[in-house]
Amino acid sequence: MPRAVKFRERLTNFYRYPRICGFQDQITDKNTFCSFLNTPHPGTKRAYIYIHIPWCTSMCNYCPFYHTYYHHTDEETRSRFVSAVCAELTRYASEAFYCRTPIVNVNFGGGTPFLLDIGHLEKILTTIYDRFTVAEHPVVSIEGDPIALQNRDKLSALKELGVTRASFGLQTFNERLRKKLTVQSTGYDVYKAVEALHRCGYEEWGCDMLYNCPEQNVTEIRFNVDRICELEPSIIDVYDLNISPNTHLARLVLENKFSSNPSNQKEIEQFKAIQETFAEHGFEQVRSVNFKPPGVVTDRNGILHQFSEDVLGVGPSARTFLYSGGRNYRNRCSTDDYIRDVESGQYPIEAGNIVSSQILEERDMMLFPYYLEVPKASINYLRFREQIEDMCFSGYVEDTGATIRLTELGKLWAGNVQYYFHSEEEKRAIGNSTFLSLQNRKNLFNQDFVNVHPSAQRA
């Protein structure tokens, strides 16, 4: 008999399974861990490359991704870094696993990769084109910020190098909130950046938007979505603000420095407003966190499919997930340690796990709510049948016969449905990671000190 389940605390969406925890998943024997590289890629999954460039010109206080101040580095460090990235790429390309695998997608993220000199970006791209087999029309994407992206010369130069897409964090048009979130750019910069992208012929570009931030309400959310739709991006990512304990932002919230704090109720109201307002503009929800305008065709090799393909992560803190190699891992979350490992001839891997076929099944099941609808043939339906029936009985999922898909209620609670399909072992590991990070005063995301308040670090 199916179980009735009622979700109450809205959980964030999950993109990674299994988790990688710097405390629980340290890798001590890299040789054994990397032995999968001796076997040619079977070709059942597409190959993506993600490159993490760890510098920004501002430290937005909500961002958990590994990054440091661009202006605290010098040209020598950046050159060494780029050489290390190229060396890491070259080493992977020489392995049997990658000798014939066509790369269909290259994505520069961070940090703000657009800040790198054009010469450095060209060096990295040239390494990829020369050392790997690259598909005929790869998707090449780069993350910027609204100030940096106004540089039309650089945008044009990157287009010449094969970059096809750009993205940036828009977050909100509320200038006061932007300041409190220590975002350097303004709404005016957003408009100038979009103008530059259009003038330089970037037909495809995307932006991120945050909700359930302190002091946000439904009126502001609707305003943000209205303005974003007017700009006509190819894709929009919407994220509920995740505040990691021990961070500057967590401290501000706990000390009531904002006139109003995020809450479960606000998160629900604001996501509903996001869905309604995008629908009013004719935008379609294509993933649990993505919306796109009518008529835009999403590339099969694009960003919307990355979680189900083989992604090689290069650069500090970059994450690799390889269905084909049964590997899930993360590079060192420190530029110095990353460069040191690469220069000494090692893969700069910090933590990770070997992923069995059973866990791959769990991952695919967990990802179903992200995709909104999946064919039953793409998951191990029999294994998860009882849980699927619970979700159907409870109104979050419907069984169409050939597929299972989220209902409108399920789209609101997508993260919770994902969590329902987590194994008990994985839930325990996530819980342990949370408390180990709390014990050690670290940011939950990478178990490092990114945006951690100095007083928490000293405790």
Partner: protein, 108 residues
Amino acid sequence: MKSEYTTNTPQSQIVEDIVRFFRTDILNDETAELDPRDEIVSMGLIDSMGIVRLLTHLQNALGIREFARHDLTLDNFRSIEKIAAMIARYCVPAVAGGKRVSHGRGAT
């Protein structure tokens, strides 16, 4: 720092307080049914920021600045019942004015 809990505080009262906090602050639902034995993390009843808000609430209630690091474990926060049992270890004897006069096992 003033503590709401002392060694005279029944564990049932601590459990009630935590349940009330969950209803009002985490779930925003005064009528939510909660079993103190429910596995709060496993059931997805609380996220990481919720855990921090809960810790802050409990630290304030106990009149302590922070919990000892070795107490910040998944096991101690597995259920409301378990949390209450851990809280009980931090309770101090009641004195006039309700002020803490000793440190218990936590840091102040």
